[in-house]
Symmetry: C2
Subunit: 371 residues, 2 copies
């Protein structure tokens, strides 16, 4: 049921436009996936996501496993029914949050033992358990459990994490196959820190396992921007071109356009939603801080010409007032604009690729930023 | 431009159905007005209010005067343009918040001096200033500045407040007339505590000033329910029947139905919106506390059969999860249901009055509560 087709390959870069087929419909790539951590893209409804052009959202396995948990979500036959989003969903493996958010995470022979950040209760996450959880979440795309290294990571530490990641990927694939695979796709995740030798090893070993798609993990973990792009530039061509290539947890609009240029198809990041709740609005000219005094009587929408609900109906002065008054509507209206901005940005990138004008589009994007 | 017509008078009680004409369209009465304190009915958009059947909202003069203030709102030619709500708006006079929320409120010959609850800055609110502020807010219905007494209030204290209220009402009317009245209506407010002699005096003196409508203030300020209903029962017939009669700051569904029975046409209260944010949902069977454990896997909507967006799309289990996780969407989905409940409750009351079946409707309402 899952499939991927490249519709157009840029003649001047590795940028490409394609379509992923999932059990809940198609996803046009390159694509940005808003993050719906706890079964809700914070403050907005599924209808608002659809109106913003969102095609696919991300759910967090670690969070949803802890609450509301299996019994509740199974009552609704999975996350789609529970949260009333009937488009495609990708779930992460839970690994990233276990290592970054949970307490006392400890890698064992079986997997990783940890304590809940909510109530300190003890849990074990193994490749098999991650696949099982993502099974009852019912996501369209599951991710393999992996071990991400922080930056900087020594060669030895990155090598151990890569070994663990590969071992877990094999076990995830086996568990997925045993469960029948079914309508859920499974992506492998390349690790290896910023060490090219390890990235190559990881990519090649994972490619041999024939996953539905491939992700680069362990990027945007504190390394300099140049090193992130360099690692992506080196790693992306090592992944099979006939599969979707997903960069996890990145990033800013400029990162997205650069990574598309290097051959990436999928992105997720909390940036548009989190920054919205901090009063930061994305525009083609850069970031707008809604609290600034010069917006006090500013009757312009956040981004003149933008087609989102917020820009069609509200002024910066009103958004500033709502934000300073801590009105709940502030977070929502800002989120609608930012999500629309990211999704529409990728939509325009895709359009440019289809016309083989992506590199011009990218040039104009950077010129616009310099004004 | 402002007008009021009684379309149907119940044959068995003082309940009545009518239509108010305002500069921003008609309002069918009896009507419930959600509170939009700071230029936003907390967490919801104008479109969601309209979809819930909301006809008119209330804005708070005290809050909007302090922030965002005149310069900002005037830039948008008033509150309608600023908040993008193009239906009728009623504004209070600011008096209630000055006496309940501001610091060091002190009645002087001119009006009431107070300090902002936000930054402690000093301000003076007079009848003339209240009318001026409501003028630039551009509300369809303005309220006279009044002095509300707490419960219990001695005869002497209530008498002084009634004197002040009458003096201010006359000055408000003069200021309103001097400003041309224009498209904005002005309502007088009856005070007098729970003292019938004072309520009668207040009502009669105000009626002689020929306001566009009349309100009962100083109810639901801590008095026993019986006394509130008794005071309303005594006072409502003293107001001119050809004008809308508005009970300020009340209340629960049972209060609304009882007060409609006594002849009231208009209501406002923070109950549906505030309780929504506390996880309390109104239903025909009573109040539902969304955090209760028995809703953990409850796939029913908040109120089966309810036509609101929340009930058509979400389960109690999902709302409980969102609320416990402090997801912003929780407050909004709960608010949509509660506002719809109150507005639809008044709509059904009106329908029953038009069919002269209101007293049966009221009986069934109370029978349903007893189950």
């Amino acid at each position: 049921m899952f499939g991927f087709n490249v519709l157009k390959q840029s003649t001047k870069s590795r940028a490409r436009a394609g379509v992923i087929q999932t059990a809940h419909g198609p996803v046009e790539t390159p694509v940005f996936m808003p993050v719906g951590t706890l079964g809700s893209v914070k403050s907005v409804t599924p209808e608002e996501l659809t109106a913003s052009g969102v095609q696919i959202i991300l759910g967090n396995t670690y969070h949803l496993y802890l609450r509301p948990g299996r019994e509740v979500i199974s009552r609704f036959h999975g996350l789609h029914g529970f949260m009333n989003w009937h488009g495609p969903i990708l779930t992460d493996s839970g690994g990233f949050q276990v290592f970054s958010l949970a307490k006392l995470a400890r890698v064992t022979a079986e997997g990783v033992a940890f304590q809940s950040h909510i109530d300190g209760s003890s849990h074990l996450l193994t490749p098999e358990i991650s696949i099982e959880i993502q099974g009852w979440l019912g996501s369209d795309i599951m991710m393999c459990l992996d071990q991400c290294t922080a930056y900087p990571a020594s060669f030895e530490a990155a090598e151990r994490a890569e070994e663990t990641t590969f071992d877990w990927a094999r076990r995830c694939r086996d568990a997925w196959r045993s469960a029948g695979g079914g309508h859920q796709a499974l992506f492998g995740i390349v690790q290896g820190g910023m060490h090219q030798e390890l990235r190559r090893k990881s990519a090649e070993r994972l490619a041999a396992l024939d996953f539905s798609g491939y992700a680069l993990g362990g990027l945007s973990v504190g390394e300099p921007l140049d090193l992130m792009l360099q690692t992506a530039d080196f790693s992306l061509p090592l992944l099979p071109d006939e599969k979707p290539k997903y960069i996890m947890g990145v990033g800013r609009p400029e990162d997205l356009i650069d990574l598309v240029c290097l051959g990436a198809d999928m992105f997720d990041c909390v940036l548009p939603t989190r920054n919205a709740r901090n009063g930061q609005l994305f525009t083609a000219d850069g970031t707008l801080t809604i609290t600034h005094a010069w917006h006090r009587t500013d009757s312009d929408p956040p981004e003149p010409g933008c087609a989102c609900y917020t820009c069609r109906n509200y002024s910066r002065a009103y958004l500033r007032h709502l934000f300073l008054s801590r009105e709940l509507l502030a977070y929502r209206l800002n989120t609608i604009h930012n999500v629309h901005f990211f999704v529409d940005f990728l939509r325009r990138i895709r359009e440019a690729i289809l016309k083989d004008e992506f590199e011009d589009f990218k040039k104009r994007f950077y010129e616009n930023r310099e004004i």
